[in-house]
């Protein structure tokens, strides 16, 4: 029986993770749940799974949870302390970090110090503090299992092969809803258009990141930390059908790829079951009918989608620049979702913050938070300057 805590249980990944738990009641026990603001859904989940430890993002959310009258709500904790409590409770074997953004950083580090296996669905943790997190994992002998479909694919392709066997990693990208458009055609696209992802159903923030290709940029940085290879060994290939989830080219020239249906239950279950693999009834790939018998590949257009180029630039610096990239992106995407800035302004805001920042070491969580804070304030200010008038 694997005892699992979920950070971000009411989000898209969190709900899929509970579906995986439902499919394997004899193998998985849900012992901790942390959510953001959705008190109603968390109350339902608590009634069903009866987790020992529960947390919500804010005091307000906690009040709403308590008003639901679900048993256990009285002991729920709010804020980062709540995330840490859920992630480090003694009964927990594995922590699924599926909360979006940077809130879970402390909780992940604390879980690692408590020797919990980490299933990581959150990109920002490694983008912001990849050095700190992977060093802590190494020191504590803790495994970080990637849930993101691309990194999960690479983990499956490597299947224990050493980094020294890798010639390059090839991350596939659907290209998002604006694939094939030139930079000039992206000036007036709306958030609604950007939210129509062609192949994956995901949360709003990550769907916008897919439209800008920043999602792939963050994945390049994440791959660097997860698999120990440099930016020059990580390539991105556009693959609109999202059937090949990613590939590893080995030193002899042989390439191993992982393919599958676009269903996040697959990588989540992989992380929950590892090193075992549990049978599912998920459908087989159908090479003649479902997929029109064809897989396409193309190079990314970094002129139209400069966020990918910015991410490579941030990774090359190997210091605090990825923190700036990520923080500025969070601010810019939030503004775009509100309708207050144009799509191309997202990259512009990020680049300006990167240009203004003097890269420094990120030797502690405090220094990460300081750079993060600076970049958010700087980007908010920049966003105001490029704001659309109503």
């Amino acid at each position: 029986m694997k005892r699992i805590a979920i950070l971000g249980s009411t989000g898209s990944i969190g709900r899929s993770a509970l579906a995986v738990a439902d499919a394997h009641p004899d193998r998985i026990a849900i012992v901790g749940l942390a959510a953001g603001e959705n008190a109603d859904l968390l109350a339902e989940q608590m009634a069903r799974y009866q987790p020992a430890t529960v947390a919500m993002a804010s005091g307000d959310a906690l009040d709403r949870l308590r008003q639901c009258g679900v048993p256990g709500a009285a002991n729920a904790i709010s804020g980062r302390d709540g995330l840490v409590a859920v992630a480090t409770a003694p009964e927990v074997d594995l922590v699924l970090c599926a909360s979006s953004g940077t809130e879970a950083l402390e909780a992940v580090l604390a879980a690692i110090e408590h020797k919990k296996t980490i299933a990581l669905a959150n990109k920002e943790v490694l983008v912001m503090a990849g050095g700190l997190v992977t060093e802590a994992a190494r020191r504590n002998g803790v495994m970080i299992l990637p849930v993101d479909s691309e990194h999960n694919a690479i983990h499956q392709c490597l299947h224990g092969r050493e980094a020294s066997e890798i010639r390059r990693l090839i991350l596939t990208a659907s290209g998002g809803p604006f694939r094939g458009r030139a930079a000039s055609e992206l000036k007036d696209v709306t958030a609604d258009q950007a939210l129509r992802h062609p192949t994956w159903r995901m949360g709003r923030k990550i769907t916008i990141d897919s439209a800008t290709l920043m999602n792939k940029g963050l994945e390049v940085i994440e791959a660097h930390w997860l698999f120990g290879v440099g930016a020059n060994q990580i390539d991105v290939v556009i693959h609109p059908q999202s059937v090949v989830h990613s590939m590893v080219e080995l030193t002899d020239g042989s390439t191993i790829a992982q393919l599958g249906v676009t269903d996040m239950r697959l990588p989540i279950q992989y992380a929950f079951s590892y090193p075992e693999r549990w049978a599912t009834r998920l459908p087989s790939l159908d090479f003649d009918i479902v997929r029109a018998g064809r897989l396409d590949f193309d190079v990314p257009d970094t002129a139209a989608f400069p966020c990918l180029r910015l991410a490579y630039r941030a990774l090359d610096s190997d210091r605090s620049l990825p923190v700036v990239l990520n923080a500025a992106n969070e601010i810019a995407v939030a503004r775009f979702l509100e309708g207050s800035i144009r799509f191309p302004s997202i990259a512009e805001i990020i680049e300006r913050a990167m240009d203004a920042h003097a890269p420094a070491e990120v030797a502690s969580l405090a220094s990460v938070r300081a750079v993060d804070q600076w970049a958010r304030e700087y980007s908010l200010e920049t966003a105001r300057g490029v704001e659309l008038k109503a």
Copy 2:
């Protein structure tokens, strides 16, 4: 230093294997060579690699080798005894079986009894005597490493995963030069046309087998023995670009594929280096330019290419029928290459032999040879009946 003997050193695979040895003089020593009839080339190879043991198919060939005046020719041996001597010499670590046809069967079994690792590029060995060979390998703790690009791909995809993790194996097939043609359009195709393979350069027999899809049928049987899965867990998918060499679908629905350039040095080196992987300068797959950015997949047309259906039928019987399939195919392909029968007669001759045969156990090499002999004679007779008049 790995000490390698090559059965079939003057053929297509044998020459590629020597190219691999040339690329790794510090890791590979060629200690034995066996060839068919090409005495001139074997003499050259002997001069270069100075193998301790040498064999040729016939006494005639041996005479020609001796006339070349190369040192060591005096000790060369002919016939199956020669193959056995090369395969079992005490200095040999690994035997590459790259001779075509069934001549090497005794040598492979003898090598296994002498605990030599087997790199298997010959399909007929497993098609004819898969039970005997895999049982001997199990008993002696000997590894059989597949060199055929499809099975080598599956070996790389599995990378130690157990057969219990396999939902199905997916063998890819280029479809050969006649892909897309209806049965009615295959009546008058010539051997020259059949020898123009779209993606792989190989020997004549295997190139015709690719045109009839019998090559894929033999691979289905081979995969059954190598990976311990039934015919109902082995699918064939047409993939004209030959970039994806084969795939494994695992029990959770995830599929692992191996991709690469169409160069046999890659799987040969994999078998020579296993469990290590040695770097090469073989080119990376280029997803945007070389391959026109597109991979296609389709189901095989067993109406136009009945040999694939016949192979599944032979495997389902799980007794002597694969021996008949293989022997009848060798006779029919030889007749087609001579121009004495039509292309559709290949499948017809095989099916008639299968229909006429009463499947029996194949518990010994003698019973394999007896069935083989019967099927060859029966098929020669059938071939005479469908012969084209000059």
